[in-house]
């Protein structure tokens, strides 16, 4: 796992045995690891939703099929928004690493705008689907579709809320360690949502239009 060498014979002042890890350093506190564990549990929510969709994907109940309702060019634009927002978040991270507040704020704002564009297009798609009668109540397929894609969209929405909050905090307090930690956590959240979206566009949209 790590090339740390452990020695178990170090005693603290009160005589208790302590493990000394040489050559590797402990995380300052467990926030990043804790947040990663949260993301892993979120992963399980999405696994359940993907499994539901997988089971119901062809249960049309006389309603429209994926081939009839999915607009792949719209999905391609949405995918590029999210992918671009991933690299712009990376730029924000690089600016933060170089201790440049202005650049961090700028790239975070661009990321937020791309996220908002993604969300806007997704809401338009949902509106369009409901308008043509493809509501969540129509069939098992559409129920599972709205549940999975809607949950992902909600995550993006909360990501944007978090991002805007972070912009204000950065503006007020600057690049203090606490804010850096928050930017790191949001970066994990944001990139994680992109990973989930890779699953969504492949499994839901691309496979949904296959005959």
């Amino acid at each position: 796992m790590s090339e740390a060498t452990m020695t178990a014979d170090v005693k603290t002042q009160d005589g208790q045995l302590e493990f000394l890890v040489k050559g590797d350093h402990h995380p300052q506190n467990g926030t990043l690891l804790g947040f990663w564990l949260y993301l892993m549990s979120d992963c399980l929510i999405f696994a359940a939703l993907f499994a539901t969709y997988g089971v119901l994907a062809r249960s049309y109940a006389g309603g429209p099929t994926g081939m009839e309702v999915f607009d792949l060019s719209l999905v391609a634009i949405n995918t590029s928004f999210l992918l671009l927002s991933s690299i712009t978040y990376g730029f924000a991270m690089l600016q933060m690493q170089a201790n440049r507040l202005k650049g961090t704020l700028f790239w975070l704002a661009i990321t937020g705008l791309l996220g908002a564009a993604f969300l806007g297009l997704e809401l338009y798609e949902f509106y369009h689907l409901i308008h043509i009668g493809a509501t969540p109540q129509t069939s098992g397929f559409l129920t599972a579709f709205f549940a999975l894609v809607g949950t992902h969209g909600l995550h993006v929405l909360f990501g944007i809320v978090w991002l805007v909050t972070l912009l204000f905090q950065l503006k007020k307090h600057g690049l203090i360690p606490a804010n850096k930690r928050r930017v790191f956590c949001l970066s994990m959240f944001w990139h994680f949502l992109d990973v989930v979206w890779v699953g969504v566009f492949t499994y839901v949209y691309l496979m949904g239009v296959l005959p």
Partner: protein, 118 residues
Amino acid sequence: MSEHTHDHDHHEAEGPHVSLKEYVIGFVLAVILTVIPFWLVMGNVFESSTTTALLILSFMVVQIVVHMVFFLHMNFHSEGGWNMLALIFTLVLVFITLAGSLWVMISLNNNMMPGMMG
């Protein structure tokens, strides 16, 4: 990849050291791995749906690994290896959830009487 590049002057900052190169490589790979599956489906490259489905699912798996490595900076060193351990455990659970649900439900469907399908 950054093989344990945590030098000790970065000690006050939490999280991995990131580089522009890493993000650019990740982004270019992700774009390629996105464009190909869209092209395979939208251009009707293959006659058989099964071939296309298997191919785009493989591209999905590769792209997820790319995102994990280049954007989420996953490796065996960060956080003393604990986040990799959590990830592997989660992947096992995800696999059981997905494969198990699909397996059970598809064989249930297959064992239904033909008239009751749909």
